[in-house]
Amino acid sequence: MTEQRPLDRQTMANRAAMEFQDGWVVNLGIGIPTLCSNFVHPDRRVIYQSENGLVNYGPLAAEGEEDPNLVNAGGQYVVEMAGMAVQDHADSFALIRGGYVDVTALGAYEAAANGDFANWKVAGARGGGIGGAMDLAVGAKNVFLLMEHTTKEGKPRLVERCALPVTARGVVTLVVTNLGLFRVAPEGFVLEEIAPGYAPSDVQAATDARLVVSPSLREFRRAG
């Protein structure tokens, strides 16, 4: 029997990036999603957009090459690409809510079987960090979540219904965790790809929501 090997963050990002199609407009959230930009298929061109108004920006700036006035939404210094454009913040969110973003990849605390998710407020806190997530979640054509399958204490994050305050309702299309890949369908989470050495029952045991196992279940894929 194969040893159980949870997926690392790079592998999760690699797999999510396989979904990005040629010409897609992509918005990457802070955390694991940022890593997706390392893995885009060489034959495809994706257009990165960030909340602060950059359209078609380039990779992270090397040390010494930073422009102090050129950062992505995570505050990281990036380089410009030929063909880049800059908008103000209101126009940037017009682009986001207006339906021009093909996919937003976000981190999350909880994902629910009905497509709700929670990523802005932890239990017991007065404050939260919404940022652009609520606008992206309702505006993007696809909402991908990249997240650990359980909390550090082992509590499931894939739940039947969110217990934390939600970011948006019924919008999640795909969830990638360190245990597998799940499509969100009317019948709930469909386990389509699974981490090496795991059986669907192992994944179900770490999940609060009832999983549907895809008839074409396969081992977790990665490009390259």
């Binding site: 006035n69 050129l70 800059v86 404050g127």
Partner: protein, 238 residues
């Protein structure tokens, strides 16, 4: 016409009264009017309402709205974050807020930008799908358009806006550099008094091609040039 170019940052913010509402442009650094904020700190106005993307200073020593909060000058914050976007980085705001010593209104970032835009555009309210079905919609009017729930949000004006740009002419026509632009154009329209600090010396009218003006000078009231020993936009010391 009166001269819009002010000799010092202190002159430019001298009339900001206690209790004023102040918009602060800036996103993760670029666009933050750090020199004007430092002058407002020296000026001493208190009980301010800040309108900004974040309450600032997340484990970062740079001057931004967080410096005003730290000095007890702020009563209220309207922002897209009331917790740190970088959970490991504390901010002076977080402690005060969790203790109930400062008030805040948290909203989606696009709603913040659009409320500011609306205020400068003569639109008193609008409906947005962002935040529908979430805590941020509690107590707000909602309406279904095209089978989808939307939340009514109202315009958000301010007494002052402090913004930063790369270049201005004497009339106040502005150009921003890259992601310095962010909230600058919408805040300039939404505030009664717009004060801008610029990285380069002020140029004569006509020196900026009209097709390349980002914010028309009509929306700009006061201009201060950042001197060589002023605060430049530099990477945070993370």
């Amino acid at each position: 016409m009166r001269n819009k170019v002010y000799p010092t940052f202190d002159d430019a913010v001298a009339d900001v009264p206690d209790g004023a509402s102040v918009m602060l442009s800036g996103f993760a650094g670029p666009g933050t009017a750090r020199n004007l904020i430092a002058a407002l700190l020296r000026q001493g106005a208190s009980r301010l309402t800040l309108i900004a993307n974040t309450p600032g200073r997340w484990g970062d020593g740079r001057i931004d709205g967080g410096a005003l909060i730290e000095q007890g000058r702020v009563a209220m914050v309207r922002a897209a974050f009331t917790a740190s976007p970088h959970p490991s980085a504390a901010s002076p705001f977080t402690e005060l807020y969790e203790a109930g010593e400062i008030e805040a209104e948290l909203m989606p970032q696009g709603t913040l930008a659009e409320r500011i835009r609306a205020a400068g555009a003569g639109i008193p309210a609008f409906y947005t799908p962002a935040g529908a079905g979430t805590e941020t919609a509690l107590g707000k009017e909602t309406r279904v358009f095209g089978g989808r729930e939307h939340v009514m949000e109202t315009a958000l004006p301010a007494d002052y806006a402090l913004i930063r740009a790369r270049r201005a002419d004497r009339f106040g026509n502005l150009q921003y550099h890259r992601s310095q632009r962010n909230f600058g154009p919408v805040m300039a329209r939404a505030a009664t008094v717009t004060i801008v600090e610029v990285d380069e010396p002020v140029v004569e009218e006509g020196a900026i091609d009209p097709d390349h003006v980002h914010t028309p000078g009509l929306f700009v009231d006061r201009i201060v040039v950042v001197p060589p020993d002023g605060i430049r936009e530099e990477p945070p010391n993370r």
